[in-house]
Point group: C2
Chain length 229, copies 2
């Protein structure tokens, strides 16, 4: 019998690849997504498509109170940054940073994991081609793992809780190559921070820029932009 | 100008005392409570009363998706333990343990703190007269503090985030004495895990037992039980 794991699935490229990696390692994959007033709520539909496509054992969407996430351009306060080059993305923490987001997400994932008797969490953070968020760094994931093992019944009485971040040291192009090997259909994902009607990517927010650079470096076409052009 | 702090206020005796301590230290107190499908929802009314009484600068109730908290007798799965002596309470983790609860609560508190420009969190955990929950121990609070400083913009770019747990090393009687010095009206609080009609305490759940033993040791009457008898 395969062991259960809880996978954070946003609907984006990284988390789709992470789900495929967890499934490839033989885990029974229980996906969770969050509805938190994000302006790109189309990503929840993408998350559902990705989970179906990769045969997740379950997919639950956890509602988070949007008032707890004020102060980010991703939840409606101000414009998202545009037209930044991949080099500029590493400089400082942009306005799309959502206060304590990954900590809140992982904490909820841990609660779900305990509820289903799982001690494995997967998150698709990576600290190479990323947007400069503090909660994507390896030192955060490591510290969270330690806290998780002190916070929970399972960590105290049972097995060690493991927080897997398989993309941690991978660039965007490597992530895309790995996902394609594992059969991820990136045409089902969405990356844009400020999508237009029907979910079409804007093409110049930080997330679109990182995605385009990744596909270019991997030497493959992005099925999303191919479909839209 | 006083500095803002975020205080977790459940409506119970410990968090009321914590709020009074934070106010006594000169912080501008922003209280948060959580609605998470707890069967003792009467505690949210108590939290509001306590916040008014102690002049909190704000009080927000954050809704948490109850499906993320399955597997606890506090959220409706099974009976709460009854008739245990204070000595028995330290043995093992009881069914009232809610998976990852304090981690989820503190993570949200951190998000709120960042939103209002605060770097001080207060939580009323104590590891002396407690129910055996792993997420009430000093080592959990310490580990969470480290994680919080790695997870957030404020921790990375600004001030150190401090997680205050002023009751950490206090027994229940000492907490009550300290609260009475600070003017806490414990008649406004509620502690029972399974209150009856009108919020009256059951008298024999773990939380009622700890409360009764605390008031007895402090040598004062509990205004709650006095009112009900």
């Amino acid at each position: 019998m395969s062991r259960p794991a809880v996978i954070l699935v946003s609907g984006g490229l990284d988390s789709a690849t992470t789900l495929a990696i967890a499934a490839g390692e033989g885990f029974e994959c229980h996906a969770i997504s969050f509805s938190y007033g994000q302006r790109h709520a189309v990503e929840l539909e993408a998350a559902a498509r990705v989970c179906r496509s990769l045969h997740a054992a379950s997919h639950r969407v956890i509602e988070l109170d949007a008032t707890a996430f004020a102060g980010s351009s991703l939840t409606g306060d101000g414009d998202v940054p545009r037209g930044r080059s991949p080099e500029e993305l590493g400089e400082g923490i942009p306005s799309t940073y959502v206060p304590a987001r990954n900590l809140v997400f992982l904490s909820h994932a841990l609660g779900v994991a305990e509820g289903i008797g799982s001690s494995d969490l997967f998150i698709g953070v990576n600290a190479v081609d990323y947007s400069g968020y503090p909660d994507c760094r390896p030192e955060f994931i490591e510290s969270f793992s330690a806290t998780a093992n002190l916070a929970t019944r399972i960590g105290v009485e049972g097995e060690t809780i493991r927080v897997h971040a398989p993309l941690q040291d991978m660039g965007k192009a490597d992530i895309i190559r790995r996902g394609l090997e594992l059969g991820v259909d990136y045409g089902l994902t969405t990356s844009c921070y400020a999508p237009g009607e029907g979910g079409s990517p804007c093409g110049d927010c930080d997330s679109c820029s990182l995605r385009a650079a990744g596909f270019a470096e991997a030497g493959v076409d992005d099925p999303l932009t191919r479909r839209c052009s």
